[in-house]
């Protein structure tokens, strides 16, 4: 499987796979640092963009700062302690979820939560397209202006591209200069090179 393509010291193949799905270099650095410190992006301290709106009995909820395209509202519900998505969830971990739903119902009202979906990924990330290996539930309210579909499997082509891009991120992280990348490698970056340069400068400070 593709998880054998790239190895990063100290990381599991599933962690590497999730890194191949990041949006950009900055997120890659953040997730990598957390993995190396034995935590993930949904563990404490939660990143500043994930502003918790309610917490109950060891679970918390926030509005996804990067909502799925086509959604009017995207809520994330996750336990505070790290529970891995890599194994099947246990029902006893879900005591607080009902209470969070009840709170969201009152906070947002039935008009805003008129309809939508709930998605929880579990097991191997090869089977669920997950980027975060910390158990979480997504509540998504589509805007109904376009089709909204959430992936459980990414297409192999984009997975391979993700691994190749990750290899380029690794090169940059260990100090290879942007100008020393091949044109094919630069194309894989798919992001603002000036912004990337600023991130690289922060790394060397």
């Amino acid at each position: 499987m593709t998880s054998d393509i790239l190895k990063i010291d100290g990381l599991t193949p599933h962690q590497v796979l999730t890194l191949s799905r990041v949006r950009g270099f900055k997120q890659y650095l953040n997730m990598l640092e957390r993995y190396q410190n034995g935590v993930c992006v949904f563990c404490d301290p939660l990143g500043p963009k994930n502003r918790v709106i309610h917490e109950v009995a060891g679970w918390r909820m926030w509005e996804n700062p990067f909502p799925s395209p086509g959604s009017e509202l995207h809520l994330v519900l996750a336990p505070v302690r790290h529970i891995s998505t890599e194994s099947l969830p246990s029902a006893r971990d879900f005591i607080a979820v009902g209470e969070l739903f009840e709170w969201a119902k009152l906070e947002y009202g039935k008009k805003r939560l008129i309809g939508g979906g709930i998605l929880m990924r579990f097991g191997s990330p090869e089977y669920n397209a997950g980027t975060v290996l910390h158990l979480h539930v997504n509540i998504i309210i589509p805007d109904l202006k376009s089709e909204l579909r959430l992936p459980l499997v990414k297409d192999p082509g984009s997975t391979l591209r993700g691994y190749k891009r990750l290899a380029v991120f690794e090169k940059l992280r260990i100090g290879i200069h942007l100008t020393n990348l091949s044109s094919e490698e630069r194309l894989l970056l798919e992001e603002d090179l000036d912004e990337l340069q600023r991130e690289l400068e922060k790394l060397t400070m």
């Binding site: 086509g70 099947l88 969830p89 246990s90 029902a91 006893r92 879900f94 005591i95 979820v97 009902g98 209470e99 739903f101 009840e102 119902k105 039935k110 939560l113 008129i114 309809g115 939508g116 979906g117 709930i118 998605l119 929880m120 990924r121 579990f122 097991g123 191997s124 990330p125 090869e126 089977y127 669920n128 397209a129 998504i140 589509p142 805007d143 109904l144 202006k145 376009s146 089709e147 909204l148 579909r149 959430l150 992936p151 459980l152 499997v153 990414k154 297409d155 192999p156 082509g157 984009s158």
Partner: protein
């Protein structure tokens, strides 16, 4: 032809499903209400909990290895009407069955509600949940597997 507020014909995916859904539409039934379930759903009930009936989807999605279906036992169409304890029971029913079947991974998904501006992907509005294990080997080289949560009214997929 009669209108049936319990179903959404726009979300029907398969021809064999369409024939049964046409009959459901004509009868004005909710196919997931207990009194109608046996008439339209031909797969066995694997387990019954306080809130849910566990079965297999009669019309599974394309390119899935396993697709379990949990049907709420009373007629509700929105999560706001669900008992707060029902989520926990749903996870319990799904995970027990997933363990038995050695399901490697996937998603648990549920749709709810309805809108005049489009649909949220459900062919039946009675609350139900899916557990899906995608079939990686069946997918083509450039093919992803995605679960639909919404589309505008009169939406036509680009081909």
């Amino acid at each position: 032809m009669a209108d049936n507020r319990f179903i959404s014909m726009g979300a029907v995916r398969r021809e064999d499903q369409r024939a049964v859904m046409e009959e459901i539409k004509e009868q004005g039934h909710c196919p997931f209400c207990i009194e109608n379930l046996e008439k339209y759903h031909k797969n066995p009930i694997l387990k019954e909990g306080k809130f849910w009936l566990l079965t297999e989807n009669q019309w599974p999605y394309a390119k899935v290895k396993q697709q379990l279906l949990a049907i709420y036992k009373t007629h509700i169409e929105h999560i706001s009407e669900m008992d707060p304890e029902a989520g926990r029971e749903l996870v319990e029913l799904f995970t027990e069955e997933a363990k038995k079947r050695n399901i490697k991974g996937g998603g648990i998904a549920m749709r709810f509600g309805s809108s005049e501006h489009g649909n949220y992907g459900s062919s039946v509005l009675h609350i139900h949940a899916h557990l899906i294990e995608p079939d990686l080997e069946a997918l083509g080289e450039n093919e992803a597997w995605k679960f639909k949560f919404g589309q505008p009214k009169n939406y036509k997929k680009k081909t």
